[in-house]
Symmetry: C2
Subunit: 627 residues, 2 copies
């Protein structure tokens, strides 16, 4: 159900009006038809996360090696080569997953089915974390790209990132099934501008052949070049691989033959990623590019190749564009995985509810909130966020690949040996990378991810246990078919005075019971209650009027005590139920002017756990004020 759905109240109506103008009118469930994507649109839909990883992976490798000066920076290309090989292995592994799970093989599904519940939940937790960090890192990196072009924006990075986050959230609340088309534009602009830039740079390098030795541009080393430093740079660079699994989750969205089209798209994507990554890292090293403060290395490279002209600004804007689209993919993935987990009772049920616009509203809101907290907490600094990032992704990779090995051993279809070996290599390589990443970046922030994933798994299990306990408690099994009849009612009405708001309540009480008592809780002893009693008898002579003293001026506690005490005294199997006259003010602002005793009585009764007998029934008789 949707928050603020209450169409009846004035407040609710105004909230809805605002909501619909922002996110559009509700859509009926029948609109939930499937729309298939061709390869061109599928590439645009599934690749932005993977392709845009370039923007922060390059930067992280650069920053990691910079401290070792020219000697460090001269390892940029070799590390890029190593990561590209890893990319090839992971891509090949996921091509297998596409073949094995044509109905969509997300890490959670594959690990859950093949490795069991716990690995599945670990993969699920890792995936959720990965989606959150993709959103946060993509936004901060995108803002860094644009702030490199316009340094005046640098101090406002957090606010810009949050604004873009808000826009993406609203777009997703509207429902983004047009994704293939609308989102394709920035992706292809990015691809064309980057490919053109790199080819231009490569031609220039080939024709002019003017390499710049890093020794002349790099700052002096602060640290010696060590194995740890290289491992560190490699592991931060591994963030380049995040997002590569997206296609394997979305196989059913492809036009038939689904798995073949998906595999081909994956291969095209991997080749493009490799080219962009190797090309940009190679040229950075070849031209000896070094970035100043407040500039990304990609921006410095673009400035070097294209000059600070129109081409350069196009590249920077297209970087922001593709990163925003990448952040957007989290808004498709996170709510879907949450809904899957919620359906299996591992996350709150509300995450499974489709909203007005047929999207998982609560999942979108949750992702937005957590992403905003990360952006604010880490002050919009990509470099501070990245250490948290790769852990989630590589945990999911490893579990998913391991799951695939088990899958092939189980199904044993033709060629299963080769397939198992390929996934096995993928599993081993990603597991090693996971360990390298975990060790080399533990103190910088990876420990947060290492703690968060088990915490999430614990939460999943607690939630699961709760839902199971609830359904066991609610089971009708063992209940006798003839259910004991509900005893006759004895009704108590708490009274604040003799006024019109009482009339409906008294009449309703009369209509369901012959035993009605009005109770006045007296917080301020004086002559008033005598007069009240007199007036009450004048209007409602058939209803007993009882005064209960409240020396501590509380309304709720004496009322509850009175109810329990009368039940005990009578001991006739009956028990008192409460009829509550409730005044409803005409406008929301007026609510602060009333004591809201009714609300407090309701809450107290609702949560009062009684040892024997039924829970007390509470009957609300509203009386609306008209002005």
């Amino acid at each position: 159900m949707i928050p603020g759905e209450n169409l009846a109240s004035i407040k609710g109506f105004m909230i809805n009006k605002l909501k619909y103008s922002l996110i559009g009118s509700p859509l009926p469930s029948t609109s939930l038809a499937e729309e298939r994507l061709n390869k061109v649109r599928a590439l645009a839909a599934f690749s932005p996360d993977a392709l845009s990883s370039l923007a922060y992976a390059n930067q992280e490798i650069y920053l990691g090696l910079l401290v070792a000066g020219a000697a460090g920076l001269s390892l940029q290309f070799p590390i890029a080569l190593a990561i590209t090989i890893l990319l090839g292995i992971v891509a090949l592994s996921y091509a297998q997953t596409i073949r094995g799970y044509p109905s969509g093989g997300g890490s959670y599904v594959v690990a859950h089915e093949n490795l069991g519940v716990l690995p599945g939940l670990v993969a699920g937790g890792a995936l959720l974390l990965d989606y959150i960090l993709t959103a946060a890192v993509s936004l901060t990196a995108g803002v860094a790209a644009i702030a490199s072009a316009f340094p005046v924006l640098w101090p406002y990075r957090v606010w810009i990132a949050l604004s873009i986050l808000l826009v993406i959230m609203l777009l997703n609340m509207r429902g983004l099934r047009e994704s293939g088309t609308a989102m394709a534009v920035p992706v292809y602009i990015f691809l064309f501008s980057y490919i053109a830039m790199l080819i231009f740079g490569l031609i220039r390098a080939a024709v002019l052949g003017d390499p710049v030795p890093l020794a002349t541009t790099a700052p002096p080393p602060i640290e010696p070049l060590s194995l740890f430093l290289v491992m560190h740079a490699f592991s931060t660079g591994c963030t380049a691989l995040t997002g590569i699994e997206a296609i394997s989750n979305g196989v059913p969205s492809f036009k038939p033959p689904e798995w073949i089209n998906a595999q081909r798209t994956l291969i095209v994507m991997a080749v493009l990623m490799g080219f962009l990554f190797l090309g940009s890292m190679g040229l950075t090293q070849y031209f000896g590019v070094v970035a100043g403060e407040d500039e990304t290395i990609l921006s410095a490279l673009a400035r070097r190749i294209l000059g600070t002209g129109l081409g350069y600004y196009l590249v920077q804007f297209s970087t922001l564009g593709v990163l925003a689209v990448a952040a957007n993919t989290s808004f498709a993935g996170f709510p879907r995985v949450s809904a899957l987990l919620a359906k299996d009772k591992y996350m709150p049920r509300q995450l499974f509810n489709l909203g007005d616009r047929l999207v998982f509203t609560n999942g979108i809101l949750l992702l937005t909130a957590v992403t905003a907290i990360l952006i604010i907490g880490f002050r919009g600094d990509t470099h501070a966020l990245v250490p948290l990032f790769a852990i989630g992704a590589f945990t999911a990779f490893t579990l998913s690949q391991t799951g695939m090995v088990i899958h092939w051993l189980r199904v044993r279809e033709s060629g299963w040996r080769l397939k198992a070996v390929i996934n096995g290599i993928g599993a081993v390589v990603t597991a090693i990378t996971l360990i390298v990443v975990g060790v080399s970046k533990f103190l910088e922030g990876a420990w947060i991810s290492v703690l968060v994933i088990p915490a999430l798994v614990y939460m999943f299990l607690k939630i699961h246990q709760h839902y199971n306990l609830v359904s066991r408690q609610l089971s009708m099994r063992g209940l006798p078919p003839s259910i004991r009849p509900y005893p006759k009612q004895r009704v108590v009405i708490p009274v604040s005075g003799v006024h019109r708001g009482m009339v409906d309540a008294v009449n309703f009480a009369r209509s369901i019971s012959d035993d009605v008592t009005a109770v006045y809780i007296d917080v301020d002893p004086g002559p008033d209650e005598e007069e009240l009693h007199h007036r009450w008898n004048g209007w409602f002579p058939d209803i007993k009027f009882v005064v209960v003293q409240s020396p501590y001026r509380s309304i709720v506690t004496p009322l509850l005590q009175y109810l329990d005490q009368v039940d005990l005294e009578r001991n006739d199997g009956q028990q008192a139920i409460l009829v509550l006259p409730e005044l409803i003010p005409a406008a929301p602002w007026q609510e602060v002017l009333h004591n809201q005793a009714a609300d407090q009585i309701k809450k107290a009764l609702l949560f009062q756990r009684r040892q024997n007998g039924f829970q007390r029934v509470i009957i609300d008789v509203p009386y609306h004020l008209r002005k």
Copy 2:
């Protein structure tokens, strides 16, 4: 009623436990006995606000004159003399008020009785503002005194002020009727240390006779000495008079003969104020004392007379002490005036409720919140707060004195002419001062007070109008004594499934009606509802089962529409009421794991304003989960 009073729930229990450990166990109303004060304790109870005004008045006069260099500072004593004369006039006027209103003549009461509703409300608003500013200014000035002694504290002034505010709030929540004793200690320490210091300084001046010409110590003038500058310094110095009215509010607290003891205490207080003010200002000028940055002028004077030794620190701590006690007087006054206004229906009724500890809890909380906002908003800077201050106090003075003139003209007791003249002079002088203050400090912040007082009066009138409208709407007048009988019930139960939580609800519905329908809102069409229907019929064969489609996946709207539609179709004078089965989780954290549809249905029904017929009755049947 007290927030969080719900003793029944676990959460409520824990909150109460924390609350009682901070503010003590509840007190019965019978403890509200009156305790009379002798003059020594009364002076300590009512004077701190007035006496402590010294701490900021001196400072403001000094800062106001400093810009004109030595020529400006040489006017310190003349201005102090003028203000002391004003003090005498105001004290004399209030001595009359004590005589005229022996039952306690606060400005609100006097203006309301003698001048009418609107002037009374203006006085009430001015008084509330004055109490708030007394709390804020006393705290910031007290912190400035201590930060003058320990300059390392200077950057933390806001936090220190807020901490003291919190302590004062908690003490007042416990109830501070011990005020006379516990609060007397800092007041008398302040009096003795200041009087001793001034006498020591005066003797030194008389014996040694070493005046320091201001020309040798004062910085060069920034502005020429102008009439406006002098008026400005005078009007800021008028804050010295704030708090002088306190005794006239509290006459009934004195031992009999009340008004005589009160008058005598007032005279002693005025003499002490005059001595402290004239003495400190005179010595400051005589010794040519000038304060550095980050030090108050009083601190510089004390350092000059006593050296930076034990005596100096005693004076600074006693300044903080008396100012904290002064802030505390607002915590007695503000809630009492709010409660008075609330009793007359000019402020929300909750402000009139006595809390657990027989104090006006809500008033204390409100004052704390507003004071904290002021301290934070003005960054703990006394000098920025003072321009807001005198407006409220002098508005209340003027209205109260004018009211007294009318009072004497009305009662015409012996000597009424003289009394009227004295109060008349008081009214005229305070009115002139009010205008001087308003004009000379308008742009610096007085405009805020000038806007706030009418805004408060408008709010009072709106609230009054609302409460009057409500009582007119609730009046039984004109209602026929034989009230139309409540129609027979038709009951609808919204159903989420066949489970134990349903059993009590169905049985209760059966017990009050023969016409019960179970309604299932189907948000996800499929084969499930057939099976559900089958299971329902197995368990509850006598209850009709209806499926309502919800194409927009909402629960509330289709349910409301169904209820209205069936009422319309049947058109038999009956109308459907709702029986809501509600699951209550065993622990608060579990609440997030449930959809809370019951809550939303209740809210929607409660606020649904129906054109004809009664409001719908809502019946809550709770079912408690045990784990």
